[in-house]
Amino acid sequence: MNEGLVQALVNGILLGGFYAILGVGFSLVYGVMGIINLAHASMVMIGSYLTFSLFSGIGLDPFLSIPLVAAALFVISWLVQKYLLNSLIRRGFMGMTVVSTFGLNLFLINVALLIWSADYRGVVSSYSGVAFELFGIRFPLVRIIILALSLLLTYVLWLFLIRTKTGKAIRAVSLNREAAVLMGIDVYSIYNITFGIGGALAGMAGALLSPISSITPFMGGPLLGIVFSVAVLGGLGNVSGAVIAGIVLGVAQVVGVHFIGTSWQLAISYGIFILVLLVRPQGLRGVKFVK
């Protein structure tokens, strides 16, 4: 078998794990509230910038900054939901939530431009060049850590949704809002928490992305395509589906790039996205939400 292709497959799987955590926050927010968060990728961007600032300011390792970044974005998202989106939902302007997240997207991009300027930034730690070699195939250390942490954090999210009371409440609201209200669940505070978790996941993804990508205020645009693809491929609101979808997408993208060329990477992910929408809109797993 072609060695380049095997390397591409390995790269795809390493990338796919990261795609899972990239898409799962968006997927969760859509699954619970039906809000399309167009600012999700920009939240990832803000997460990357925070990691960069922590790294260049106090020399904090990008992976150790994950809890801080996640907390910061949880608070930001929580506030956005509480004071912006909830007031729209309360007044019945569900369709306007998409427009306001679109505005939030532009706002975040311009805030990043103001604070960090348009220069390309990067997080280069001491071990970023380290790689293992096995049967002639390279396994970069940073990417292995990213894969492991992505899967771990997604698993923690899944446990949270399955085991904890808040997680159960979130699932209940997503299954049937009226029934959840009758059971004494405060739907709007659940919305706040869900959007906060979505933002925190975006922040984590941003922190994980920072060592392997250059950071610019406009990095969100291409990421949003991957977010859409993962969320739709995995089934909107489906956590375990997002993991499978992320890996499928990662492999498809890297193998596609291997055969067609790097410059078509985005077209591949968006192409998969539209194809899935047309052929199988309920996603790979074909269930509505985590059981």
Partner: protein, 308 residues
């Protein structure tokens, strides 16, 4: 027979509605006055305000166009700016490769976008609501990527439209009237759609697509037609934006395009693109970013303002 009777009644009703609107003479007088003022404005205003108005006209045109598919038909086409860029490219390529002059190039741009909308609309308009929204955004990104990678579009360098006139005052006026004419045309088309059966059908699709189909409305045809009309006007807006910015392209590219203002050495590609913008007096240049967030955001703004 009853069908015919019903149609006649409908037509009579529509006529009455039209008459009622024309009889509202204070409103009509104000509209006519504003129109005359705007027609006369170029002779009183300076270059700056004329350009501002030109951009207002084009954005309003795009908003009217989005309104047809998103407002009347209820399909949130958030990525409609794709037709803005596609139209600009079609016109520029037609002018550069085939030597087509300004007016036919603009019409060609509109027709090219209609084709694009019909070909893509037939599969994509099968999706409902939010999925359609995401698909249109995806479509925009794919188009950008394809434009970046094709040879005929000039890749990241973009296209430069051959200069129409070397006189900046004349160019300003030309683009002003072009934008104004386009806005009037779009407004008239929207008004016509609103007052005829097609508008009724589109609104029926918005309220309940299943029921509309049950009433004998061919929803596929109407939805695709709505998107095609929307694409037609957005597409004509692309080349007539006068994005020439004949005299102040330098200012513009640094002021309102943050991407172009970057100074870091890493974004040499961006700067190469900007230099094309800046060093092209009295000509239009289009780069892949002309289908980007800037034009899109204004569409959204007007979508919010004018959604019905």
């Amino acid at each position: 027979m009853r069908d015919l009777e019903f149609k006649q009644q409908e037509a009579a009703l529509a006529r009455n509605r039209l008459l009622a609107q024309t009889r509202n003479w204070p409103l009509m007088a104000v509209l006519v006055a504003i129109t005359l003022l705007l027609v006369a404005a170029p002779f009183a205003l300076g270059g700056y305000w004329m350009r501002v108005l030109t951009v207002v006209f084009i954005f309003a045109t795009m908003a009217e166009a989005v309104n047809i598919i998103a407002g009347y038909t209820g399909y949130p086409a958030l990525g409609n700016a794709v037709f803005f860029g596609t139209g600009a490219y079609v016109a520029a390529i037609a002018a550069n490769e085939l030597g087509v002059s300004l007016a036919p190039a603009i019409v060609l741009a509109g027709l090219g976008c209609v084709t694009y909308a019909v070909v893509l609309g037939l599969p994509i308009l099968r999706l409902s609501g939010r999925y359609f929204l995401m698909a249109t955004l995806g479509l925009m990104e794919i188009t950008r990527e394809v434009v970046l990678n094709l040879d005929i579009t000039g890749g990241a360098q973009g296209q430069i439209f051959p200069s129409v006139t070397s006189d900046p005052v004349l160019a300003n006026r030309l683009f002003y009237y072009l934008g104004f004419g386009l806005l009037l045309l779009t407004a008239l088309a929207t008004w016509w759609i609103q007052n005829h059966n097609i508008g009724l059908a589109l609104r029926a699709i918005k309220f309940d697509e299943e029921a509309a189909r049950a009433m004998g409305i061919n929803t596929t045809v109407y939805k695709t037609a709505a998107w095609a009309v929307s694409a037609f006007f957005t597409g004509m807006g692309g080349p007539s934006t006068g994005i020439s910015w004949p005299t102040s392209s330098q200012q513009r590219s640094t002021r309102s395009r943050p991407r172009c203002g970057c100074t870091s050495s890493t974004c040499s590609e961006e700067r190469a693109r900007c230099s094309v913008h800046c060093s092209a007096p009295a000509s239009w240049s289009f780069s892949p970013s002309s289908c980007g967030p800037a034009s899109q955001s204004s569409t959204i703004l007007f979508l919010v303002l004018s959604s019905c």
